[in-house]
Each structure stands twice: as structure tokens, then as C-alpha cells.
């Protein structure tokens, strides 16, 4: 039989993030039964005591951005025992919100928060694929359920999952939303942002703020210039392209036109 039903050996590792994606996994609503029926949780600290980091895993989901050195070591070890490794959520995929700090010097950042910084061992925020090869991305903040579903069912079937890789505008059009950029002149990030959310923000009457991070090959400089034409101040444009995913060249190129994107230690 082609469809050999074997349980997937699952590992979930969390680095710097809000754990929202891990919750999303638990929140997987009506599929939670199917999910747990079809996976063996080998390592998932938020859902299970014990567990082994050693794997081997069929599927490893990485939640969170890399901000400390030990995470890199663990990540590299995990990669070696993972057949399929997917970063989940914006933090792991493109640095997400934690990467906002990259545009200030690390020392300044530490001093803003702690008086005694001797116990702080942070490094600049990096997405997972800066250190290991990944087999795809489940984007979103929190990660998209459609892609998560695709990942599970594809691996059960034995194929490479195909994730959403078009812009938010596509979903806006499918829904027939009024375009907030053109009709209201709001600085919508939808054209350069990876879809998957169902164009949530425009459907809720607000401009997309790019929480899913950049679409592959997005032309951020063109949109940034358009924002300028629409009357946005340079620092506001800079902020729009550095809120999410400025570790990725797509957004960085847009931000760079209006500010300096990375700071040394």
C-alpha cells in the first residue's frame, strides 16, 4: 500500500519567542485529535514532561528566533537527527518581533533593560535558516494553520509540503476586500508580505503590518518609495519595514532606503 500510516516522530523546540506558535499547535482546534493520533511526541516541553532531544525525528518544528549561543549548538544537533525541519512562525522564519532590536546596538539594548548586564548573554537576533538548512517555512504570527495542516498531511503522505508563497493581496482579492492602500491611502504592507492569513487585517479594516514576514523576492524598495509618495515620513517607512522580518534581504532593502538597518555590537 502506498499509504503506509506511520506515526510521525515529532519534536518541538522553542527559542526566543512568545510560544504563541506552540499554543497554536495545541490550539489546532478540530485537528488536535488527528494530530495527536498521528504523531508521537518525542520532545515538546510545553506539552510534555521528559522527552529526548536526541530524536531521531521525522519532523522538527522550531519556534522562536536565535538570540543566544547555546541555541545554535542545540539547533545544529537537532538538525542532524531531523528528517524534516521547519521553522514555525515569524520569529523562527525571519527573526520576527525579536529582530527589532537588531537596529540598535546590543549594548544599548541591554542597558535599557538591565542595570546589571553581566548575566545577559544575548546575541543579535537570527532566523533559524541563518544557522541550519531548513525544509520549508511555516510562516505567520502565530503560524498559519493551513500551512501546518499541509505540513502534517504531506509528511504523512510522504511528499514535500507546498506552502503559501504569494502575497497577502491575493487573499484580499479572493475575499473581494476593498483595497485599503488604494481606496484609503493607508500604508499597507500586503503587496510584499507573504500570504496565508487570509488578508486578515484588510478584512478588518486596517493596513497589513507584515506579521507573516516578506514574500520571497518581494520588491520592498518599490513599495517603500510608494509609501513616500503617499506622504509617509522616512522614519515611519523605516519602522514599517523593520517591524517584521528585517533580517531578510527582501525587507532590509526597503528599510535601508530610509534608515540604517543593522548595528554592531
Amino acid at each position: 500500500m502506498l499509504v503506509k500510516k506511520k506515526k510521525l516522530r515529532l519534536g518541538v523546540f522553542k527559542y526566543s519567542c512568545c510560544a504563541g506558535c506552540e499554543f497554536e499547535l495545541i490550539y489546532f482546534q478540530k485537528y488536535i485529535r488527528e494530530t495527536f493520533d498521528n504523531v508521537d511526541i518525542i520532545y515538546f516541553r510545553m506539552a510534555k514532561s521528559g522527552g529526548s532531544e536526541e530524536g531521531p525525528f521525522d519532523l522538527v518544528l522550531i519556534d522562536g528566533a536565535i538570540t543566544e549561543a547555546w541555541q545554535v549548538d542545540q539547533l545544529k544537533r537537532v538538525r542532524q537527527v531531523a528528517r524534516f525541519l521547519l521553522p514555525i512562525g515569524s520569529c523562527a522564519v525571519n527573526g520576527g518581533i525579536p529582530a527589532i532590536k537588531n537596529h540598535t546596538s546590543e549594548l544599548d539594548m541591554e542597558k535599557r533593560v538591565y542595570q546589571d548586564i553581566t548575566h545577559v548573554h544575548s546575541i543579535k537576533t537570527h532566523p533559524v535558516d541563518d544557522y541550519v538548512q531548513v525544509d520549508g517555512y511555516i510562516k505567520g504570527c502565530p503560524m498559519g494553520r493551513k500551512d501546518l495542516y499541509e505540513a502534517f498531511t504531506s509528511l504523512l503522505l510522504g511528499k514535500r509540503p507546498s506552502f503559501v508563497n504569494y502575497s497577502v493581496c491575493v487573499e484580499c482579492k479572493i475575499k473581494g476586500n476593498t483595497c485599503v492602500l488604494i481606496s484609503y491611502g493607508w500604508p499597507c504592507m500586503g503587496p510584499v508580505t507573504n500570504g496565508g492569513c487570509g488578508a486578515l487585517c484588510p478584512s478588518y479594516n486596517r493596513a497589513c503590518y507584515a506579521c507573516w514576514g516578506p514574500m520571497e523576492d518581494a520588491n520592498a524598495p518599490a513599495l517603500a518609495r510608494q509609501f513616500e509618495k503617499m506622504g509617509l515620513a522616512p522614519d515611519d517607512i523605516f519602522r514599517r519595514f523593520t517591524q517584521y522580518g528585517s533580517t531578510k534581504p527582501e525587507f532590509r532593502r526597503g528599510a535601508e532606503l530610509y534608515g540604517s538597518t543593522t548595528q554592531p555590537f
Binding site: 500500500m1 502506498l2 498531511t153 504531506s154 503522505l157 510522504g158 511528499k159 514535500r160 507546498s162
Partner: protein, 275 residues
């Protein structure tokens, strides 16, 4: 016929060709007949994997409903087909497209140039020529692959090189080991001079990577071969096979319906090709 129209075919036999390529013999499950001509293709799929365009690598056997595909395992459909066991099934739509211009071969010299897996769609054409050898004049096959291990249809190749009806030139980029095939080293374009062919009266059929087809076609044109008798088989992303999904368009052409076999000038006039 309405599109899409799915049929189910059963895997009868698998013949490994290279490390990542095998030939698969299928038979239609509904017992129906299956007619197709050399150069045409099927859309093969499994529930859950969408579909892939795959050329026929055999000649249609009247009344049998049997057909062979030679498939390299590169993606979802092709890998899962690679995992099928004998007796398991696939979903088939087809045949689609326009194949090699068989009728134009009559009374001409015929040159076939294939690169790598490109021999698969040319094989049925070649078999047809051999079956109807009397209708054509000289028949030449030039087949190139990276190494011997990348050469598909080695049993055929060995037979053809001994046959008088056809002259063969097999070449590899690197000679890795000895075999009973007479191999030369170099790209196919190196062996295209001085062929026993009449440039003004040759049907040239090329299939392989686009960049290779470009060099071969240009080389032939330079040698004075008639450009409108040079034919190429193009590969594009395909979703429907019926000129609806638009993915395979090159300029005004739908590869799936107007092709995949095109005459060189007809397709080279559009951008978006390496030709």
C-alpha cells in the same frame, strides 16, 4: 471530452534505468484502448500530489491499453510513483499535445539528438522509424549524457549500435568506466559535423535540456539544415494539459496543446526560452 477526465492505471512492471530514473509499464484499469503518438504525454497523479506531465516512452500497442513512462524522481508525483509497488494505481489524464512530425519524415533523412532524459520522448519515435524504416532515408541518433550511469535505455542503446538501420553516436561528459556501449567523450554538439545527412532534406528532432537544444539547433542552422524542419520538445510547468491553466505558455504557444514538440523558428521567436 470534458476536462478533466481521470482514468486509473495499474502498475505492471518497473525497469530501473539509472539511479534516479526508471521505466514504468502501466495498463488502464477500465480495460479500454489507449492510443497515443510518439512525443505526446500524460498527466500522471496521485490523490494528494497534484499531477506531473510525463511523456510516453513506448509506442502505443493497439487494443492493449498499455503504455510506458520513463520517469526521473525529482518531486512529489515522481517520487511517489517511484514508491509504487506492482499492482498499485495512478490517476491518468491524456494523451495530450502534439508529438513528433512523423508524416514529415517520409522520404527524408532523420536526425535525432537527445540529452539525458530527453531520450525518453524520442524513444517511441525512434521505434516507429525502425518499424517503418523503408519510408525514410538515413537515420542517425546522437545521444549524450553526463556519464554512463546517467544513460537510460542501455539495453536499447546496445541493440541500436549494432543495427545497420541506424547509425548511433553516444557521448558522455566524463568517461567513468568501460561498457559494451561505444562511448565518446564530449558534448553532443562536438559530433554533429560530417554526418551522413542531407541538410536540405533532414528532419531533425531534438529533446533535452533547453540550453543543449539551443546549441544543437543553432549548430544545425549554421550547417545549413532547414530551420523549419528542426523540431524541439519543450518542457514547462504544467497543471492541466488542456491549455487552460496557462502555466506552460511560451509567447502565444501552449506547450501542452500546441506542443510539446515545436518547430524551431516557431518557438524561438518568443522570449522566455533559452533558445
Amino acid at each position: 471530452m470534458d476536462n478533466p477526465h481521470y482514468r486509473v492505471a495499474c502498475l505492471l512492471d518497473v525497469q530501473p534505468e539509472t539511479e534516479d530514473t526508471s521505466s514504468y509499464l502501466f495498463v488502464l484499469e477500465d480495460g479500454g484502448d489507449f492510443q497515443f503518438s510518439p512525443g505526446q504525454f500524460n498527466m500522471l497523479g496521485l490523490p494528494g500530489t497534484e499531477e506531473a506531465a510525463i511523456s510516453f516512452s513506448s509506442l502505443a500497442a493497439a487494443g492493449s491499453g498499455r503504455f510506458t513512462h520513463t520517469i526521473r524522481r525529482v518531486g512529489n508525483v515522481t517520487r511517489l510513483i517511484g514508491e509504487l509497488e506492482i499492482g498499485q494505481r495512478v490517476m491518468v489524464r491524456g494523451p495530450f499535445g502534439r508529438g513528433w512530425p512523423i508524416e514529415q519524415a517520409v522520404g527524408c533523412d532523420v536526425l535525432l539528438v537527445a540529452g539525458g532524459l530527453g531520450l525518453a520522448p524520442l524513444r517511441p519515435f525512434l521505434l516507429y522509424m525502425l518499424e517503418n524504416r523503408g519510408q525514410i532515408r538515413n537515420l542517425v541518433l546522437i545521444f549524450g549524457a553526463r556519464t554512463l550511469d546517467d544513460m537510460i535505455f542501455q539495453i536499447d542503446l546496445a541493440r541500436w549500435q549494432e543495427q545497420d538501420e541506424i547509425s548511433t553516436i553516444y557521448c558522455v561528459d566524463h568517461l567513468t568506466r568501460e561498457s559494451n556501449l561505444r562511448l565518446r567523450t564530449g558534448l553532443v554538439t562536438r559530433f554533429m559535423d560530417g554526418l551522413d545527412l542531407d541538410p536540405r532534406n533532414t528532419l531533425a528532432c531534438i529533446c533535452g535540456p533547453e540550453i543543449m537544444m539551443r546549441f544543437v539547433a543553432r549548430n544545425l542552422a549554421l550547417q545549413g539544415y532547414r530551420q523549419d524542419r528542426i523540431y524541439l520538445s519543450m518542457e514547462r510547468r504544467m497543471r492541466c494539459g488542456t491549455a487552460h491553466c496557462g502555466h506552460c505558455q511560451i509567447g502565444a504557444k501552449f506547450v501542452c496543446q500546441d506542443g510539446p514538440v515545436f518547430s524551431y523558428p516557431d518557438i524561438a521567436r518568443f522570449a522566455d526560452t533559452a533558445l
